[in-house]
């Protein structure tokens, strides 16, 4: 069946696959959110270790999903990979730096003779959870605000801004998007930890923390949503492929793709619902509706950027250099082959879910940590 799909269908399918991976990554940033909470929300080392060990059992999944997000983009939309990473150089290098810091921090943090000291590794985690997520948000924000690059006749990128991508962090929309993701990650981190820990007082604090962080996220979310429906968008002429600025393009996308509108609204409602049942109804299961809501919201955002004849990586410097899911994709053959490969994804998700359940069926307690000589 896959073999008979035409190129444009495969391009749309792969935008969906990349969007799903990206959305799952945002859900999994509860790890990063948790990392920003350990310095402020804990009262002693026991509580700190408990939180680190809880999210520490999932950090690799988040990390791997980010790597897969990059790999899937590379395989399906290599022109984006080349243009964005090679062009917006400094923003990606900065993001990568924060993830390198994270990767060693769990394992090295409490090991004796660890050279940099426990506090340094905890600061590394905080930087990854705050600066790293902020910059990722700013980078994704450029899907709507545009970037400064030009492609030559051979599709080779030339960046036209001296800050090479860091300029994205000076756009209010991009920064708001980034800050929204930072606070969302903290919401998710609080919810995940509340669900995973056996520690009454800490769980109570986490329930409050989820709510407070949602309140912090709201102004940024509102600003992003309002700007999104009001801003000019980068529309693609389906016949000529020409890109032009169209007033209210993203609002138009929402109205012309009602499913996306439903995803967005349902997603946001679920995020809020998860926090509310945690805060006011004593539940610790809020991570699941909020997590699902995060995935749906992100899917809607990616859909707004890529579907309905929209440029997902527009160039402010040269509209004709803007990337669409049609001009940036891999060949028909490669997308077909990769689609066969992608059949494995549900099986991968299934075994991850199964082992997740096995590992998290029992809540993590201070007593268990004390007995575990392998704890972080």
């Amino acid at each position: 069946m896959i073999g008979s799909l035409d190129w444009s269908t495969l391009q749309q399918l792969w935008w969906l696959i990349v969007s799903v991976v990206g959305s799952l990554f945002v859900f999994l940033t509860f790890v990063q959110g948790g990392q920003t909470l350990i310095l402020t929300l804990t009262n002693d080392d026991n509580e700190k270790n408990l939180m680190v060990n809880s999210i520490g059992r999932k950090w690799e999944l988040t990390f791997t999903t980010l790597v897969l997000f990059g790999g899937a983009f590379y395989a399906s939309f290599p022109l984006f990979y080349a243009s964005s990473f090679g062009g917006a150089y400094w923003v990606w290098i900065a993001i990568l730096f924060t993830f390198v810091m994270q990767a060693v921090s769990y394992e090295y943090r409490r090991k004796p003779n660890n050279f940099l000291g426990q506090k340094t590794y905890e600061i590394f985690m905080f930087i990854n959870g705050s600066v790293g997520i902020l910059l990722i948000g700013a980078a994704v924000g450029t899907f709507f605000t545009g970037s400064n690059f030009v492609l030559n006749d051979y599709n080779l990128v030339q960046w036209t801004h001296p800050l090479r991508g860091l300029e994205a962090a000076f756009s209010l929309f991009n920064v708001s998007f980034g800050l929204f993701l930072v606070f969302l990650a903290r919401v998710l981190g609080s919810l995940y930890l509340a669900n995973n820990l056996e520690h009454q007082s800490l769980v109570g604090q986490l329930q409050v923390s989820a709510f407070n962080n949602l309140l912090c996220a709201l102004p940024f979310l509102l600003y992003v949503l309002i700007r999104l429906v009001l801003m000019d968008g980068f529309a693609v002429d389906p016949t000529s492929g020409d890109v032009s600025l169209v007033s209210g393009k993203y609002l138009q996308n929402l109205l012309e793709m009602p499913l996306v509108l439903i995803l967005l609204v349902a997603g946001l409602v679920l995020v809020v619902f998860g926090v509310v049942i945690n805060r006011f109804m004593g539940s610790v299961r809020g991570i699941w509706p909020s997590g699902l809501g995060t995935v749906l919201t992100c899917l809607a955002v990616f859909s707004l950027a890529g579907y309905n004849n929209t440029s997902f990586y527009p160039s402010k410097a040269d509209l004709s250099s803007s990337l669409t899911i049609y001009n940036a994709s891999s060949s028909h053959y490669t997308l077909t082959m990769m689609s066969y490969v992608a059949i494995a994804v549900p099986f991968v998700l299934a075994y991850i879910a199964w082992f997740w359940r096995q590992m998290d069926s029992k809540k993590l307690s201070v007593e268990e940590l004390a007995a575990d000589d392998k704890s972080y």
Partner: protein, 513 residues
């Protein structure tokens, strides 16, 4: 396509990639091998029910975890560096190269990530057998990830299964299976992973020898040595076998690399293999200087290595550079000439398409098609550019092979003494055991130096030189990144070594781990 080539930028980009890759490869081989050793140890524990084997497993697992974390950290940089520092490459071959990287994520990284958590924290959360299964899966996942990245690297060394599309100005995949099943890719995978097994065995032997020298944890150390020596001996023999296969394939796919490995300037029949030699670093293609200051040659051995018989010529650097009619070798000068025709006709084709001149476009395309196999050569400035650094490749190859041979002997000796329970009677051998892991790292790095330096100036062998593959950055930007990475990786390496040393000194009884 490329108006101006900034060699300083290219060299900084190469240096940054080499730095990242070499740091990454400090940690990866240990991960590849130690994961299997942990699985062996735990299997013995599950089979015997002996808690001492569990303690032993947990000790090596702790060291595995410390090493694994920093391997992951350097690995992410490596993947994204293809985009940041080699963006032209990423576009021009992303249609092929991106696939194995994505497949690696789906089929390998998630296995590692999922089962890593079970392996470390699941001792009391899953059944004993499920835990053992998870440990095995970490080993399988780690090695599967090596498979996919080495498939990608193998394709760079010997590109197949693709076609250049002049409209998109990139290479596009035609046959995924031929990319995956390429003999070069399989050879890379088997050689690199088995060298990882070997290195991990050396690591276990080294740490265990240190315990024996200090008269601590003797039974633990002897058990570890016994398992590691069996694994190490089998691995080192397999490394030799796959190395021979690798050289045989290199003779066909990258003859210039083989010639550089042997500092072979003039092909002859039969060709000898230089056992020991001091190369003349000033020798250039076409000059009359002696290639060696001093050398000892084993007659006919290179011919045997390259052809698996004692007849046949192995072409030298001068044959490959200037051509050899008798051997039907086209010289680099002619390839550069045709490459420049390909570059120019591609430009004409793009211009004609843009202006809507169909006749001119067709004419240019025809010329391009006749010369497209030489496209990459069109970006070389001189024939000398097609020759990699001979001294570096030559010495790195000898370092790798001689140490590899030494390790076979070493494992035999250790296995014999282990079987006789006489290891502690030979402190000098134990001291050599401790030293051996450092030699293992040297050999392992030398292998990659041969592979990567030996294929210069190509990012994609014969198709895409590094001068074209790089990103359009200024050299200062890449230089700053180089030093940032150097600082970060070195700091993390120091941390890793200090933590590892402490854990080893604490021993299997452990402290906080």
């Amino acid at each position: 396509m490329i108006e101006q080539i900034d060699l300083s930028l290219v060299n900084w980009a190469r240096a940054t990639f080499a730095l990242t890759a070499m740091y990454h490869w400090i940690f990866v081989p240990l991960t590849l091998g130690l994961s299997f050793l942990c699985a062996f140890f735990e299997s013995i524990y599950v089979r015997t029910g002996n808690e001492e084997w569990k303690k032993l497993t947990k000790f090596w697992m702790t060291l595995f975890g410390i090493n694994f974390a920093i391997g992951v950290a350097t690995g992410i940089i490596l993947e994204f560096e293809f985009g940041t520092n080699w963006s032209n490459y990423s576009w021009m071959v992303g249609d092929i190269f991106g696939a194995p990287l994505a497949i690696e994520g789906i089929f390998a990284f998630f296995i590692e990530a999922t089962f890593f958590a079970v392996m470390f924290f699941g001792w009391d959360r899953v059944t004993k057998k499920m835990h053992l299964f998870s440990t095995w899966m970490v080993a399988v996942g780690s090695n599967l990830s090596a498979l996919w990245i080495l498939v990608a690297n193998g394709w760079m060394q010997s590109p197949i299964g693709m076609k250049f599309n002049p409209d998109t100005a990139r290479f596009e995949m035609q046959d995924l299976w031929s990319v995956i099943s390429s003999r070069v890719a399989i050879s890379h995978f088997t050689h690199a992973t088995s060298s990882g097994f070997l290195l991990a065995s050396l690591f276990v032997v080294a740490v265990s020898c240190w315990f024996l020298l200090k008269n601590r944890h003797s039974l633990f150390a002897k058990r570890s040595i016994a398992v590691a020596c069996v694994f190490g001996l089998l691995s080192s023999l397999f490394v030799a076998f796959t190395g021979d296969e690798h050289a045989f394939i290199t003779a066909r796919t990258q003859p210039m690399k083989l010639a550089a490995m042997e500092a072979l300037w003039e092909g002859k029949e039969p060709t000898g293999l230089i056992a020991v030699g001091l190369v003349n670093p000033d020798k250039k293609p076409g000059d009359e200087q002696d290639p060696f200051e001093f050398s000892i040659e084993i007659p006919g051995m290179l011919t045997l290595l390259a052809h698996r018989r004692f007849e046949g010529v192995v072409p030298g650097i001068n044959d490959l550079t200037f051509g050899n009619e008798k051997l039907q070798i086209e010289g680099v000068a002619e390839k550069i000439r045709r490459g420049r025709v390909a570059v120019a006709s591609l430009g004409d084709y793009k211009a004609a398409r843009k202006s809507g001149d169909a006749v001119a476009a067709e004419r240019s395309l025809k010329i391009f098609n006749q010369n497209q196999d030489y496209l990459g050569y069109g970006y070389l400035d001189s024939v000398e550019q097609a020759v990699p650094s001979v001294p570096i490749t030559f010495y790195a190859f000898r370092t790798m092979v001689s140490l590899g041979t030494l390790f076979i002997l070493m494992f035999l000796v250790f296995l014999y003494l282990s079987a006789k329970n006489k290891l502690e009677d030979y402190p000098l051998i134990l001291k050599f055991g401790v030293l051996s892991v450092f030699l293992g790292y040297v050999a392992s790095q030398a292998g990659w130096v041969v592979t990567e330096v030996g294929r210069q100036p190509w990012a994609i062998q014969g198709m895409l030189p590094v001068t074209v593959a790089r990103s359009n950055l200024d050299s200062g930007t890449v230089a700053v990144t180089f030093f940032l990475f150097l600082f970060l990786f070195t700091a993390l390496l120091i941390a890793e070594i200090k933590i590892m040393a402490k854990q080893i000194s604490l021993g299997p009884e452990g402290g906080k781990s």
